[in-house]
Every structure is written in C-alpha cells, then in structure tokens.
Amino acid sequence: MTSTTDLAQTIEQPDADSAAGPSMTRLLRPHLRSFVAVALLQVIGALAGLAPLLAVVELGRTLLSPGPIDHTHVWTVVTAGAAGLLVRLLFTAASAGIGHLLDSRVQLTFRRQLAASLGHVPLGWFSRRRTGELAKVVNEDVSAVHPFIAHAPGELVAAFVVPLVSLIYLFTVDWRLTLITLIPVVLAIALVPLLMLPARTREQEAYDAAMGRIASSVVEFVQGISVVKAFGGGERAHRAFLTAADDFVSIFSRWVRGMSAVAAGMQLALSPPFVLLVVLIGGSALIASGGLAPADLLPFLLLGLGLTAPVAALGHGFDDLQSAGRAVGRIKDVLAVPPLPEPAHPRPPQGHRVELRDVRFAYDADHEVLRGIDLVLEPGTVTAVVGPSGSGKSTLVQLLPRFFDPTHGSVLLGGVDLREIGSRELYRRVSFVLQDVRLLHASVADNIALAMPQAGRDDVVRAARLAGIHDRVLRLPRGYDTVLGEETKLSGGEAQRISIARALLADAPILVLDEATSFADPQTEQAIRRALATLSGDRTIVVIAHRLETVADADTVVVLEDGAIVERGRPTDLLERGGRLAAFWRSRQSAEIETHGGVLRGDEPR
C-alpha cells in the first residue's frame, strides 16, 4: 500500500478536515434555520405594518360613506391598526436582533475557515501575495458580507413580499389606478440596466482594486516608516501611498460621476413626492370621469409608496450587496486555494535520518532554484551549508519542515517521504530557527513555548537559561509574562536568543538553523554554540553557516552554488583540498585582513 502509485493517490486526496474549497453554501448550511426564522419574522412584521395604513383607508371609507357613521366600526378599525403596529414592532425587532447575532456568528465561521485554509496552503503561495490584501480578505471582506447575512434575508424578502401583497390588494380596488401607480417603479427599473453597463462593472472592479492597493501601500508605508524618515522628503518616500490614494479617489469620482445622473433619475422616480404626484394625477382623472370612488384613492396614496420598496431596496442596498458579492468572491478565492496535501494514510518515520534524493525545486516554472540535490543528513551529525546568497541554501533547508514540496525528487525522513508523514508528526520531529527572527505579540513564555504549548514554566526557564536570555527576561517589567511588542521591544540578538530557546524547548530530533548567526552579538553567538553543543548527540542538525567557527565545528560541510552541490566533505579535508571552501576561507581571511588594514592604513582624513 505504500508503493509510489499509492503515494500519488494519497497525496491527491485532500484531508477531509482541511479547506479544499468548501462552498459558501456548506459554510452557511448550519445556519439555515436561523435564516428562515429571520425572514419569516420580518415578513410577518412587515405585513402587520400594513394594518395601520389599511385602518386609515377603512376609516376613510366609513367617514366618506353616505349615511350615519358606525362608531363601533371606527373604533374596531383603529384598534386593529394599533395592534398591527405592535405586532410589527415585536416581529421586526426580533428579526433584526436574530439577524445581527447570526451575522456575528457567520463572520466568525468565515474568519475561522479562512484562517484554517491559510494555515494549510503552501507557503510559496504567500510570497506572491501581499499581506495587506490577504488581511483585508479576512478582516474587511468578511465584514462586508454583513448586508448579505444581517439584512438580505429579512429586509430584502420583506421588500418583495409586502409590495406583492399590497399590489394584489390594490388590484382588487382598482386595476387602472394600480397600473398608473406602477409607472414610477417601471421608470426606475428601466434605468437599472444603465447601472450595470460593462463600463460600470469595470469601474467597480477598478474601485476594489484601488482600495486593495491602498491597504497594501499603507502596510508598506507603516512598516517602512524608518526608511521614509531616513530618506526624508516625506512627499517622495511615501508617494506609493499617496499615488494609491489619488488613484483611488479619481476612480471613485469617475465611478460616482458615471452613476450620479442615473442614480438621481432613479431616486427621483422613486421619491415620495413624485409617486404621489403620479397617483394624484391618475386618481383625479379617474375620479373626474366617475370611474373611481373618491374613497378608493386613499389606499393608493398610502400603499402606493410601498410599491417602490423593492426597487428602492435594490437601488439603496445595491452597492452594499454588490460589494458584498465581490467580497464573497474574494473569500471564495482564498478558500479555494488547494492546501498542501495531507497524506490519507500517514506513515511513521523510522529514526531521523534525512535524505534528499535528486531534489529539484522552482518557485517559477522558468527558474530552478535547486537543481538535483542528493544529500544525506545522518543522525548525530552537524551539517553546515555554505554558499553565496541566492545559491538556494534557504530554500534547501525549508524543504525539511515542508514549507514547500520539491517539484521533482523527494525528501525522506526516517525512510518515509515527507508527503506521507502527517504534519503533526513532522513538526514534532523538525524544529527550526528561522532567518528572520519573528516574535509573536504574546508573552515571553508563550513565545518560547510556541511549539510546546503544554510545557511548564520550569521547562521554559531551563530553555531560556540555555539560550542565555533568562537574565534579560527577568529584567523585563513582568518577567516571563511580559507581552512582547507591547510592553517591551527586544533587540535583534535578544529576539534570536528567544528563538533559540524556542528550538531548545521543542527538543525535536531534527534541528534546522537558518542564518542564525546574523544579528548575533557575542552572547548570542555563545548561546548558539552552546545550543548546538547541548543538542548534538543523536540529533540531526543542519546549519546555514555564516561563520567560520560554525563551519569548522560541523561534521560535514556542503558548498552550494547556483542550486547544486559543488563540494562536500569534512571541513578539514575540504580546506586541504583547496577547492571552493578553501577559497571561501581565504576570502574571509582577506576580508579580515582588509578590515585590520583599513584601520592600520589610517587613511581617513582627520
């Protein structure tokens, strides 16, 4: 069952639990009953709202009818009208309340689903996207769905049902005046296609895109604020932001200008004075010709305005609904990104020997970063990877925690392809000190225990001591409970030691250190060496080495150039052989000589 064909099949099958494009309907199905309740309550409430208007109509009929006035009938009518108002109040309030509470639940579901989905997509997918735009999907786009959830089911349904009922009633009163009353509605509907011209749709899309650019440029602006400051002349340094803003404003005004005449026409057609004017002109003509009882004009004056509700609702909520629709589209796009496949039948690795077999990898189809890597990392050894920037070192080690899957060949851990190991199992075995040290906006203890949330305080402290950061932590305002980024900011070296403590605590049998020596101060360098010394044993360690000391301490050195291994062996052997590593060694030494020389030459102008 573990033949290669099986492997192909297993990786085809996405984990049932992961987000392999769950449709909106599937996300919304659990809430179906609430949606129905919201709609029903709203419809009942809105229909009851007709009662007082009908009461006025009935009052008119009674008062205008020849002969003595039936007092009891008048008071019954008034009571019925008041009762209708009360029902309307209770039911619409209940509907709105439930709708909005439902909305907050649905938004939570969406955001959780998005987070789950984003937590499983291949990391490579992120490098092509901007954080700001993605964050906008999770935050603002989900919020923009609000009218769909909180308003559409209730108000929109009511906006159609109530006029329909009114229309039927009005037809029974007088069909000619009913048709006349519909004139404003027809006028407004006739204008609707003008709102949906391709040009308008294009402007809408441009509008959304411009908004996204603003979000991204702001993130960039704030993150790069120190550069903005250092290079002064604010105007030009943050021009990306201002350009995005200007773009947005001009797209916005173009959009508004394109819409304004049509929108004004629609709004005028639907406005109460205009509708009343039409009804009165038609009504007076009919009354004058004797075709309509004067009392029958009243229902048209009172209910006729309500007939415009669906068009008004569409026109009014149209923008919101349209932007909600586009937001849903973007949410769907993110949910539809296929996750890094999980194995259907995970296999446990035997031991922790790591083997790369003819591994090739490309971020883009036309540019291979790794070109056929064969490499074995034996347990109990330290392997140093050395190479110029852009040689593929970082990519190589990132294959181990399966940030990416190789485009060709395979990475095996304990004899098992990484793609056949469950992610939980994999992360238990591989820990990682990243190139860019990142600390979470959380307490020091939580940061250290990131991979081991269940670890006790003693274990956290032990790891911190080993990483040489314990004393510094004790000097923080609230020790291990200090929230980083909020109560304090750590320097680069301190942050790095936290991340080393993190790796030490994780205590995984395979450790990947990526450019961990950058930003290092003497204490941090010591901490790294101590960590490596403590951890070696039967662990498999791979280090992207920047320092000769680290290279010299390694059991094996691998020199990487342009995505291929050009040299490998024991550091001393390689140095004796006089190849690439030796050249590197010499260039490094000359760098130091030059450094000293620079001082000794004393050529600076005084």
């Binding site: 109040l89 919020s143 702001v218 250092a230 304004s260 004004a264 109460p272 750590l490 070696s536």
Partner: protein, 571 residues
C-alpha cells in the same frame, strides 16, 4: 458631527460643506412644504368638487419639479464635497504619518492605520456623500410636515409635535448607549486585524512550530472577542431602535385615535382628517429610517474621532527658523531618554569629531540602535541635547538633517518596487551613471547581473524576494548614492554572506571614506576599524577609547572581546 468633520479637515472645506448642508436643508423643507398642497387636492378630490383639484395639482407638480432640481444639485454637491475631502484627507493623513515620531509606531499601529486608511476614511467621508442628505431629510421633512399639519389643524399638529422631544431624547440616549459598545467593538476589530497580519506574516514560524494544524489560539481568541463585542453592540443598539419605532408608532396611533375622535365629533371634515393622516404616514417612514441612518452616522463619527486622534498626535516639531549646522561633528550632551517606562539613556554624553569613526559596543538592549535613532531625530530626547555640527537637532529642519545623514539599518526594509527605484530613493535626481557607480561600489552590480530582470527586478513587499545579503547591498547602494557627510551603520555586516563579505566591506569602506561615522556592531572584528570605541551599558558610556587602549584597560570591552574570540566550546 459636521463640526468635527470640519475640525479634522481644516477650514478650506468649510464653505463647500456649509453650502451643501444648506442646500440639503432647503431641499428637505421644499419636500415637506410640497405635501401641504396635498390637503387642498384631497379636500377637492374626496369632497364634492373633484374638478377644483386641478390648479392645486398643477401647483403640486411645480413643487415636485423644484424639489427634483434642488435634490439633484444638493446630491451632486454632496458627492463633490465628499470626494474632494477624501483626497485632501488622504494627503493630510499621509503627510502627518510621515512626521510622527517613530516611537508612535508600535505593533498595533499597522492594523490601526490600515483600517483607518481603508474603510475608515471612506466611511468618514461617506458622511458628506451618502449619509448627510438622508439624515437631514429624515429630520427636516417630518418637522416641516408637522408644521404644515399644525397650520391645518393645531390639535393634530401638536400631538405630532410630541414625538419631537422623545425622538431627540432617544437619539441622544442611543448615542451614549452604543458609544461604549462601538468603541469596544472597534478595539477588538483592531486587535484581530493585528493578529491576522501576524498570523499571515508569521506563517513559516507557526508552521514550523506546528501551530497551524489546530486553531491558532491567539488568533482564534481575538476572533471570538470580535464576535462577542459585535453581539454586545447588537444588544446595546436594539433597545434604542425599538424605542424609536415604538415612539413613532405610538404617535401615529395617537393621531389615528385623535383623528377618529375629531371626525366622529364632527369637529373637522372627513377629507381634511384623511389628508392629515396621509401626511402623518409620510412623517413616519423618514423618522423610522433615522435609527438606521443614525447607526451609520455613529460609525462614521467614531472613525472621524479616531482620525482626529491620529491627526492630533503631536508630530516632531519643526523649528520655525531652522539653523544650518556648521560642520559634521556629533555630540550627545547629558542626554536622558525614556522609552515607555524604561530609561534608555541617563545623562549620557558622547562626542564624535567630524571625520572620525566611532563604534558603539554593548550588550543587547543597551540602546545602541536608539543612539543612532536619536541622532537622526526619530525621537526627541527627554533632557539634554543631541547636536549635529554644534546645532541642536531640534533646531535643524527635518529635510536639512536628513540630507546630512545616510543610514544603513539593521533590518533592511525595501519598498515594493524595482531595485532601481529602491536605490534611487537615496537621491531621486541622480543620473544613471551615479546610480550605476553606487551599485558598483556596493557590489550590487553582481547581484543585478545574476537576476534575470536586472535593475527592473521587483523586490517584493519589504524586499522579501531578495536574500538578506542582497537586500543589504541595495541599502548600502542607496546610502552611497545619497552621499551624505554623516554615515550611520546599524549592524551592516550582520546579514552579509561570508562568500562575498570582503566585497561588501569594500562598499562600506567607500561609504565611510571621509565621513563622520557612527557604527553599531555586534561582531567584534568589525569594531576594530573604528577610531574610537564607546562601550554602552546601563544608559551610559562606561568605557571609551581606542581598541588597543580598551584592551589594555581590561574592563568590560576587553571581556567582550575575549568572549567573542574564545574558541567554540563543544563538549
């Protein structure tokens, strides 16, 4: 509300705004008054002489036409004011953000500012474009109608007028009741926004820690908080919305009862009472829409308040009469600087004569980077003075100060754009030859040759598409191009690739030649190249002198040196 809008915007928009408000009010009054014509029309139609309705109907038609024209003009004016203000606001915000002290920017700010610049501004400006007209119309039209009703029948009018104070009281109460819930909700939204960005940006870290399989607690907690806060907002707004509806409906019921009573008593004609009830129905709808519009207005208002808070944050003060520094020497004179509650510098003094190189050494967190930031006036000191060329940095214009300083940062941040654009940031008016020369001196040319798109290569957001070493070279080239007399190096060598380290040292050498240099270095070997070394600890300079002097002295620096030179201990 409008006053707040104008305060945030400044006076230049006041006139256009006021004109728009007046236009909208006039439109609403015209609408209300046009309904007055309904009464004679209905009196005629419902009475015995329907033909009398015609002249009144013509008058009503004319009033509707006037209303239509006014409404179109005022809507357009609202839109125009809205967009103009939006543009002005973006520029104002952008320029203000660039002038705020760096200390203002903490972890939560990215989320806050991005929400503000995105949804926030649009919502705030939407007041003029979309909300103002319905709001004014929903208030003014019913009031005008009530006045009309009073003119025809004072009892009915008075009864309707009863609604006014109650509606006003409810609006006021709603504002108060929801303010707290809204504020809390906004805070939660922002927290969640920050968490989402963290979650996205730290994916590699979280994955390596195996924390994306189950729900990531920190994010999920904040999402749950958002849900709870939004539920509380709903519950806080609901009573007011119900109260408003109840009031409007109660008044309508009262009018219905009163009308029936008056009609039955024969005090008033049936046609008249029916016309007034039709008018009353015309009052109810706009008033009911108030709770909806009110909610949106409150949302916009709190966005405006946040915008105002940001714009009110004091930027670094510009000197009124900037002084030109006479030379390029640097001086810290008894500088005390606090960051939050922590005292970073405590009466620290230090001088760097023009053309000298000073290396700053010390344990992590001693404030080495902060020292550079004070020189560049990213912050202002709490006591003492930082001087460049003998002049307090607060007396030099920001432009003037920045023109003198080139900084190479510890965290290299590149803007999303091409390599060329990022290098040119150093001096936008540099010619091609100068840009190429800077790149060659920083050994960036090698990187560019290797990249398929060369100078046009996009560096990605923050420069993430380049490796650390490549980013560093871009930033050195940028600093070289700037050709400033004072150079600050914040751990430049840290991310360098050893294979090419000699080459990059060459670039730094070019950068430092003939200039006043302050460098922060963790690698002790780099430090040796300085004329003088200052050892920083506990907010003060504890040792100062040349490398040889300090080693002889056998103090803190010597310990540091020995620690870093010690061979790797591997048991």
């Amino acid at each position: 509300m409008i006053r707040m809008l104008l305060r945030v915007l400044g006076d230049e928009y006041a006139w256009a705004m006021r004109r728009t408000v007046i236009l909208m009010t006039v439109t609403a009054v015209v609408e209300g008054l046009s309904y007055a014509l309904l009464v004679p029309v209905l009196r005629a139609l419902l009475g015995s002489t329907p033909a009398d309705a015609v002249p009144w109907l013509v008058a009503f038609g004319a009033a509707v036409a006037l209303y239509a024209v006014l409404r179109y003009i005022s809507d357009l004016s609202g839109m125009r004011v809205g967009t103009t203000m939006l543009r002005g606001m973006y520029h104002r915000l952008g320029e203000h953000l660039a002038r705020l002290p760096l200390g203002w920017y903490n972890a939560g700010r990215i989320g806050e500012v991005s929400v503000l610049a995105g949804r926030g501004l649009l919502q705030a400006m939407g007041v003029a474009a979309h909300l103002l007209a319905p709001f004014i119309s929903a208030l003014v039209t019913p009031l005008t109608i009530v006045a009309v009703m009073t003119a025809f029948n004072w009892r009915m009018g008075l009864a309707a007028l009863l609604a006014a104070p109650v509606v006003a009281a409810i609006q006021a109460r709603t504002a108060r009741a929801t303010a707290a819930a809204d504020a809390e909700r906004h805070e939660r939204d922002q927290e969640a926004g920050g968490r989402v960005i963290e979650f996205l940006r730290d994916q590699p870290l979280l994955r390596a820690a195996g924390r994306t399989g189950e729900r990531f607690q920190l994010l999920d907690d904040s999402l749950l908080d958002v849900q709870r806060a939004s539920r509380r907002t709903v519950l806080a707004t609901l009573p007011s919305a119900v109260g408003l509806t109840l009031t409007v409906q109660a008044i309508f019921t009262a009018l219905l009862v009163l009308g029936a009573h008056l009609a039955l008593g024969g005090n008033i004609g049936a046609a008249e009472i029916l016309a007034i009830l039709v008018l009353a129905a015309r009052c109810a709808d706009p008033l009911l829409s108030l709770s909806d519009i009110g909610g949106k207005l409150r949302g916009a208002r709190s966005e405006l308040a946040r915008l105002e808070a940001v714009l009110r944050t004091e930027p670094l003060r510009e000197p009124r009469e900037p002084i030109q520094p006479a030379h390029h020497g640097l001086e810290f004179d008894a500088v005390t600087f606090r960051h939050g509650q922590r005292t970073v510098f405590d009466e620290m003094s230090l001088t760097v004569p023009e053309g000298q190189r000073l290396a700053v050494v010390g344990p992590s967190g001693a404030g080495k980077s902060t020292l550079l930031q004070l020189l560049a006036r990213f912050y202002d000191v709490d006591a003492g003075a930082v001087r460049v060329g003998g002049v307090d940095v607060r007396a030099i214009s920001t432009e003037g100060l920045m023109a003198r300083i080139a900084i190479v940062f510890q965290d290299v941040y590149l803007f999303d754009g091409t390599i060329e654009e990022n290098v040119r940031l150093g001096r936008p008016d540099a010619d091609v030859a100068e840009v190429r020369a800077a790149a060659t001196a920083a050994r960036l040319d090698e990187v560019i040759e290797r990249l398929p798109a060369g100078w046009e290569t996009n560096v990605g957001e923050g420069g993430t598409l380049l490796s650390g070493g490549e980013r560093q070279r871009v930033s050195i080239a940028r600093a070289l191009l700037k050709n400033a007399p004072i150079v600050m190096l914040d751990e430049v060598t840290s991310a360098l690739d050893p294979m090419n380290e000699a080459a990059v040292h060459e670039g730094i050498e070019h950068l430092m030649a003939g200039r006043t240099v302050v460098m922060v270095a963790h690698r002790m070997r780099t430090v040796q190249r300085a004329d003088r070394i200052a050892f920083l600890d506990g907010g003060r300079i504890v040792e100062e002198g040349s490398h040889a002097d300090l080693l002889d002295h056998g103090g803190r620096y010597a310990d540091f040196w020995n620690l870093s030179m010690a061979p790797a201990a591997r048991e």
